[in-house]
């Protein structure tokens, strides 16, 4: 097994469109790395470059200690699971899984052993003789994974493998992928636009936007300390509220004249300069608490999610959402006082959109 190293990797398409703008990233051996971002952010292109399906316009990609820029996909010792499964429609499930091994002249009994083993792990033994079209979406997904694992590759690549499945199956398969990866210990790179998938699966979360990396870290790091406003609003559901504010002094900012205390604030910011104040809907509490700052909110309407409720409204004229356990706040409340824990306030530079936290 091997890690993957990217060094200022670029992809420039015909017409000078730069899809990937110099990405550097180290993925440790055996870790589960998720590339997440909105469509068009270059995450799939990056994955396809690692797979060898796209040429590399600049920089270097290493699998283990080997530079693979000029290596054919077949010789990179990787396996890939595609969004539409990409099973060979004219082959049985068994042949689909055996195809890669046969191409590599693996002995017949070894092929049979490995396919049977993979089929057992993925619980697709009863379908080995069927054609892919006779399988459900979830079963096809398993076959696609089986095809990847029989090869015992250095790296697994996943290109939005769950987005063609229905919501319930997606959750189930997500758990299975995680369990499988932990059991096999193979370095995995997983591309998705779904931030829940990204958070739950990854050891290492890479948030991308516009062909560049916005932030790399563990899921909790990225969630707790987003480095840019983009990451702050992309990771977390419902997204973080961003309010325009002003610097009042060290550890203090104001939103619409209401002063709130902040723990994580860059030193030496000019009082009076504008700043963006980020608050997660789940991090604010209704009512006033001793030692906490407070904000006044006007409620427009309430969304019911069962266990929780989302209160939509405005704080100092800007849209704001609060998430609260059902029953905690009366559903007909029109005016709310929100208590803000200084540790939960995120500050961003309005120009560069970078975090203005402690250095």
């Amino acid at each position: 097994m091997a890690g993957v190293t990217l060094d200022t990797v670029r992809k420039i398409y015909a017409g000078n469109v730069e899809a990937v703008k110099g990405v550097s990233l180290g993925i440790e051996d055996g870790s589960f790395c998720v590339l997440v971002g909105p469509s068009g952010c270059g995450k799939s292109t990056l994955l396809r470059m690692i797979a060898g399906l796209e040429t590399i316009s600049g920089g270097e990609i290493k699998i283990g200690n080997r530079v693979v820029n000029q290596v054919e996909p077949a010789d990179r010792d990787i396996a890939m699971v595609f969004q539409n499964y990409a099973l060979y429609p004219h082959m049985s499930v068994y042949d689909n899984m055996a195809y890669g091994l046969r191409n590599r002249k693996t002995p017949k009994d070894e092929i049979e052993k490995r396919v049977k083993e993979a089929a057992r792990i993925l619980a697709i033994e009863p379908f080995l003789d069927r054609k892919p079209r006779a399988l459900s979406g979830g079963q096809r997904q398993r076959v696609a994974m089986g095809r990847a694992i029989v090869r015992k590759p250095q790296v697994f690549l996943f290109d939005e493998p769950l987005s063609n499945l229905d919501a319930k199956l997606r959750v189930q398969m997500r758990v299975e992928i995680k369990r499988l990866q932990k059991a096999l210990g193979v370095t995995s790179i997983y591309v998705t636009h779904d931030q829940v998938e990204a958070m739950t699966l990854s050891d290492k979360l890479v948030v991308m936007s516009g062909g560049q990396i916005e932030q790399v870290g563990s899921p909790s790091e990225v969630y707790r300390r987003p480095e840019t406003r983009f990451v702050a609003t992309f990771i977390g559901s419902p997204p973080m509220n961003i309010l325009p504010g002003k610097v009042e002094g060290p550890g203090r900012v104001s939103v619409g004249g209401q002063v709130i205390a902040v723990t994580d604030m860059r030193e030496g910011l000019t009082p009076g300069s504008s700043i963006e104040v980020g608050l997660r809907p789940e991090d604010v509490q209704a009512g006033s608490a001793p030692g906490a700052s407070s904000l006044a909110m006007e409620v427009d309407f309430v969304e019911e999610l069962g266990a929780t409720q989302l209160f939509h409204g405005k704080v100092a004229g800007t849209d704001f959402v609060v998430q609260a356990s059902t029953g905690q706040i009366g559903a007909d409340t029109r005016k709310l006082t929100l208590s803000i824990d200084p540790g939960n306030v995120h500050l961003f530079d309005p120009q560069s959109t970078k975090r203005l936290g402690r250095v």
Binding site: L53, Q83, Y88, N103
Partner: protein
């Protein structure tokens, strides 16, 4: 999801199918029934009298060595044209399917020969390969080959195969290209990651996935060679030399129009009709079932 048009009365639907039905009946069923009837008659060469002879025309046909020769000629001709027009079209389609500069112009140009009328195509080829006039025949003769499709049956057949193939490549090319484009890119990419080189990918993934298209085209091409190469044969060889390029269809024309044996000619067309019905039936059966997968 099925979408159906609903008509409230009978008038409009009847009116809509009327033109098709009229054309089919007047130009197909009527002549076909006439041919069947005529195949049981014997007519004198001037068309003044005829008598009912039952299956005599058919029996006479099966006693003619020329009929079997025409059958063999047809089989050789259609096998060669089918093989070359399918394989060349597939080769061109796989190349055109790649992302190449000027691919659109390439595709359009490849489709052009299909627009040329068979007789004109035949004349074009005869101009190129006529033993004395032909621009291309001269270098061949200069190379020491006694090229003469007017006298040598094999040369005549080569020329026919060339012109019939050339004309049909366009059609096969279009369908192969569409077939190739219908194969998901990711399946091919999965093959590449699974360690299959370009040739192996083609033979183990692309070709099997194209098999419904290939089969459809095989039947269409055979039907084409059987029935639509008449114009080319008539323009290039006229069935000669000495009947060596007379196919079953050309023999219908030669016996009926030139030989004046209308009954025998009708019997031959009835047999051809049975063949084409059989081919179509096979095609429907298998295309519906989607060969291979």
């Amino acid at each position: 999801m099925e979408k159906r048009a609903h008509f409230s009365g009978w008038t409009l639907p009847l009116l809509l199918i009327l033109p098709q039905m009229a054309i089919t009946v007047i130009f197909f069923y009527w002549p076909a029934s006439q041919a069947i009837w005529q195949s049981f008659l014997r007519e004198d060469a001037f068309g003044l009298s005829s008598e009912f002879v039952g299956f005599e025309n058919y029996l006479a046909l099966f006693e003619q060595p020329e009929y079997y020769r025409a059958m063999v000629t047809t089989i050789i001709f259609s096998t060669l044209v089918a093989f070359f027009s399918l394989s060349v079209a597939l080769l061109l389609a796989t190349q055109a399917d790649k992302n190449i500069r000027g691919g659109h112009a390439f595709k359009t140009l490849l489709i052009w020969p299909y627009a040329v009328a068979p007789a004109i195509a035949g004349v074009l080829w005869i101009f190129m390969f006529h033993p004395t006039l032909g621009t291309l025949a001269r270098p061949i003769r200069a190379a020491g080959i006694d090229w003469n499709p007017m006298l040598n049956g094999n040369h005549a057949m080569i020329l026919l195969v060339l012109s019939a193939t050339w004309k049909h490549i366009s059609y096969n090319f279009l369908f192969f290209l569409a077939g190739l484009q219908a194969i998901p890119k990711s399946v091919i990419e999965a093959g590449a990651i699974d360690g299959a080189g370009p040739m192996r990918r083609f033979w183990t993934i692309v070709f099997p996935l194209l098999s419904p298209t290939t089969f459809f085209l095989l039947v269409v091409t055979v039907v084409y060679v059987f029935f639509e190469t008449f114009g080319i044969i008539d323009a290039v060889t006229g069935g000669g030399p000495a009947g060596q390029t007379t196919t079953l269809v050309y023999k219908v024309y030669a016996d009926g129009r030139l030989g004046g044996d209308l009954g025998g000619s009708a019997a031959q067309s009835v047999i051809l009709m049975v063949i084409v019905i059989a081919l179509t039936a096979i095609q429907f059966r298998y295309v519906e079932r989607k060969v291979q997968y």
